[in-house]
Symmetry: C2
Subunit: 215 residues, 2 copies
């Protein structure tokens, strides 16, 4: 009985995900789902990515958090359309939440929709939310064993951002271990090295995203 309920939720979610993908293809909007642990640097990365893309493309952002609107305020301060989605305790977002948020945007004017998922290396990886690209962010201070311990996120991501990359000086971080483990579970994953504070490495991500654009 209990298992039945969970399976239906996943099935409903996949249906909604497919529906969103069709709709966003018609609108020629690329949706990017940004995931990673709390404090891995998702918001700072998004801000620098927006700065590097905003002259060419119109961008919208959905910020998902358990509580508060700290991140959405940062994006709004840039003059970028943003909605804060509070999950009230839920550890991830599902496709239906995105579907319900989209009417808050003028979609005919958008080329890219960036979703900042709830800070969590586990649950968000299980749910497709209408995205074209999943980006997993892993910061150097989190350590080099995370792919082995939280494999699903890295198995499902299209891109892996090694963030706070300048911190390699101060942490014992075996980069080869992470990259080999990531490629082992996901041979097509694209790996980037980024220091968002200084904008280093953002150009590579921008070029990769540009090649995926629908317009």
């Amino acid at each position: 009985m209990e298992i039945k309920v969970v399976r239906q939720i996943m099935e409903w979610n996949e249906n909604c995900h497919a529906e969103l993908q069709t709709y966003l293809n018609e609108k020629k909007i690329l949706m990017i789902n940004i995931m990673g642990s709390p404090g891995t640097g998702k918001t700072t990365f998004i801000i620098k990515l927006i700065e590097s893309l905003r002259e060419e493309y119109n961008i919208g952002v959905i910020e998902a958090d358990i509580a508060g609107k700290i991140d959405a305020e940062k994006i709004a301060n840039m003059g970028i359309p943003v909605v804060q989605l509070n999950t009230d305790g839920a550890c991830h977002i599902e496709a239906l939440a995105i579907k319900n948020m989209l009417p808050e945007f003028d979609l005919d004017k958008l080329d890219i929709m960036i979703i900042e998922n709830v800070g969590n290396l586990v649950c968000p990886a299980e749910f497709d939310i209408g995205e074209d690209l999943k980006l997993a962010i892993l910061s150097i201070p989190e350590g080099d064993d995370k792919v082995e311990k939280y494999p699903l996120m890295f198995t499902r991501a299209d891109g892996l951002i090694l963030s706070k990359y300048d911190m390699k000086t101060y942490f014992d971080f075996d980069e080869d271990r992470v990259i080999n483990n990531a490629l082992n579970v996901n041979k097509d994953i694209k790996i980037f090295r980024v220091n968002s504070n200084k904008g280093e490495g953002i150009d590579d991500v921008r070029e990769w995203i540009k090649a995926k654009m629908k317009i």
Copy 2:
């Protein structure tokens, strides 16, 4: 219907939690539930805590991870009884899992049972697992906005460990913001500053735990 199922799970979990607490009180075992984001430094903290307590007390450890046995191997190498609990994708552990693992230990010989929860700042906070103390670990690289964004963990913790404290030099981390926010949601929370790599600050945690011992 769906809500009913979830409420029953929480109710069953609370019953199991209470049963475990009664049982562990009889056995005079203090159980500590260690929680925090992936890469916040839980395992390194536990290793240093064990080193500082093992001469006086007998300690057992349950390591919970989505996959793998990396952390359990580190504890086993210290000669400490340890069991690795793989959740196969689940983002937290529940009391029943602990109940099922306890027979793996010779409980008459233990004074302290340390549980390293799944790396996750969200879901583990919702589930009591028979513990006497909840310790939330937050590392400096994760940033100073985490209490506002993930309040439940800090609301429910007895102690807050600010880990990788030596990294304050390299990160823009407003310690007052974190402490004020933590005390705002949990006026009794005890705050510690720890650099586990060098063992700094571990003595304060040890003395606090010693005052809670059942023997």
